[in-house]
């Protein structure tokens, strides 16, 4: 778990800023601190759920780990190699080991490619196998994600949303990765189809020992798929521990607020409503001190001035709050 030495992925103090406003001469006036110094690690065969509301930087984290966005600073150790500063040629080899699945099942597939070609293309790019061998590999992957081999010749628009997401997963699997960033993989799907994709992802993990960074705004889904959970707010991790602890005993007031806000599909439990007030502040103009203090029911003077650090308050349970 946390602090384990045999980690597949080890992220330390990852930061990413974007220019928000530029001056007359192209000089940057304001920056968005999309990801502001976060650290976590993921072990073999495990899933870290990354939860947060829109604009908290969770998707940026996923892309920065794969260097789809260049991180501003920090280290990303994957299987022992720091990939943050790796030249493109060496990064290419690592691409076989780590992949990504996106949220939108429509924009993630090229409308002009057949499903089979979409899944085979990574193999071509990496020079794996002859055409006939590749076909066999793709057929195998299609079967694995629950698609028919005859569907290989269809175009993306001939599939439903859930099936498209299966094709995306098949593409990610084609190179035999160890680690997959799943960026809101079920959020755009219908409720009855979400379960299909969630089960598929969990089956693949059970079979092949894949590790996931599962990014989602849906706490219930995260609880279902993850081993560990990290909660993000305005670019920072505010709480990070194993699933059982965080749902049984959330310590950060934001985590508590988030859980209180999630509607529970059980009308027999009508909880008392103590919902956190106010809007999520802009990541350009983050509040001083603890970024959550303007919305926090328990905020004190210290919270307004001093930034809380993420520290281990119980074994394996890290929280960034002055009051815990």
């Amino acid at each position: 778990m946390l602090g384990d030495l045999t980690m597949l992925l080890d992220v330390t103090d990852l930061r990413k800023t974007f220019p928000a406003r530029t001056g007359l001469l192209g000089n940057v006036i304001d920056r968005v601190h999309a990801v502001d110094g976060i650290s976590f690690s993921i072990g073999e065969g495990r899933t870290l759920g990354l939860v947060g509301e829109s604009g908290c930087g969770k998707s940026t984290v996923g892309r920065a780990i794969l260097r789809l966005i260049e991180p501003s600073s920090g280290s990303i150790r994957f299987e022992g190699t720091d990939i943050a500063g790796l030249p493109a040629s060496e990064l290419r080899a690592l691409r076989r080991r780590m992949q990504i699945v996106f949220q939108d099942p429509y924009s993630s597939l090229n409308p002009r490619q057949r499903a089979g070609d979409i899944v085979a293309e990574p193999l071509i790019v990496h020079g794996i196998g002859k055409a006939s061998e590749r076909r066999a590999i793709v057929e195998g992957i299609f079967a694995k994600v629950g698609l028919q081999p005859r569907q290989m010749s269809l175009y993306p628009h001939q599939f439903s949303g859930g099936q498209r997401q299966r094709i995306s997963i098949a593409r990610a699997l084609s190179l035999g990765p160890r680690f997959i960033v799943a960026d809101e993989p079920v959020s755009a799907l219908d409720v009855s189809v979400q379960a299909q994709v969630i089960n598929l992802l969990m089956d693949l993990q059970a079979q092949d020992g894949l590790s996931y960074l599962f990014i989602s705004h849906n706490l219930a889904v995260v609880e279902h798929v993850s081993h560990d959970v990290a909660v993000m707010y305005l670019g920072r991790i505010v709480e990070h521990t194993d699933k059982a602890s965080i749902f049984a005993q959330p310590l950060h007031p934001y985590t508590q607020a988030l859980m209180a806000a999630v509607p529970v599909a059980d009308p027999s439990i009508r909880r008392d409503k103590k919902h956190v007030m106010g809007d999520v502040p802009s990541p350009i103009n983050r509040p001083s001190g603890c970024h959550f203090h303007p919305r926090c029911p328990m905020a004190q003077a210290q919270c307004r001035t001093e930034e809380p650090v993420l520290r281990e308050v119980q074994p394996g349970h890290r929280v960034a709050c002055h009051l815990v």
Partner: protein, 321 residues
Amino acid sequence: MAPVLEVSGLTTVFHTRTGVVRAVQDVSFSVEAGETLAIVGESGCGKTMTALSLMRLIPMPPGEITAGTVKVAGTDLLTLDEASMRKMRGSQIAMIFQEPMTALNPLFTVGRQIAEMVSLHENVSRRVANDRAVEMLQHVRIPAPERRAREYPHQMSGGMRQRAMIAMALACKPKVLIADEPTTALDVTIQAQVLDLIDDLRKELGTAVVLITHDLGVVAETADRMIVMYAGRKVEEGTTKDLFADPCHPYLQGLLASVPRLGASGSQRLREIPGVVPSLSDLPKGCAFADRCSSAIGKCLEAIPPLEQKRPGHSAACWVT
């Protein structure tokens, strides 16, 4: 108590290139004053088209309401001429939409857009209307309402805009409020605030609320009664408590079992509903859910099951259960 909104046999179709799309078929329900009825279903089940049919906002052509009645306090909206219908919209039956970012006109201040509603339906001066706009903004718990009334939509956050939409919809105290996925585009913490707000205003004003959503959690927390729609038809109806505790239709059963729930230690597999929602332009002869249903029998493929009472106050359209 007589229901404020009574819908019966509502049927809406769209004439398209690929044929007739049966968006809403024979849907009936009623809502009492101060009650919340949820219409639940997945994308393409016809829930939004039902809402737009109630408001008569279906684009015609290609849309057409072919049958049914929609009675608001006894008046059948579907028989009114266009001018009388306009008088009903906003004053008797109002609607809020899914996308707060695009539902307000970007070129007018929020205050003006609310005041427009007031002066349209009530014979008051511009100043009174403006004051009412500020009052409504305060009512929906927007801080500094005088200042916010002078702001444009783009200066507000998504949650704030949805509040402004609610303020506008309720400005003339309509008897019925239709909320079409009002919180789907919002963050969880903001969603909770907005749902609370709708709920409080319902109690305070005695408005009948029709809440359209795909989120079973939202239904469980806010609705007294619910109807479940699938492929344009109502397949189950009853009190929320009853339907969640003991769903009759295999579709609702599947839906409830397929959603991970917070707090349920979720290591067990989720139940899947296989397959996909059928196309509304090419519906099967029998039950639309039959080919995804594990308990389907021969009859299910042959004939559409009628909606029948399974228990007091709980009806479902299924041959099997």
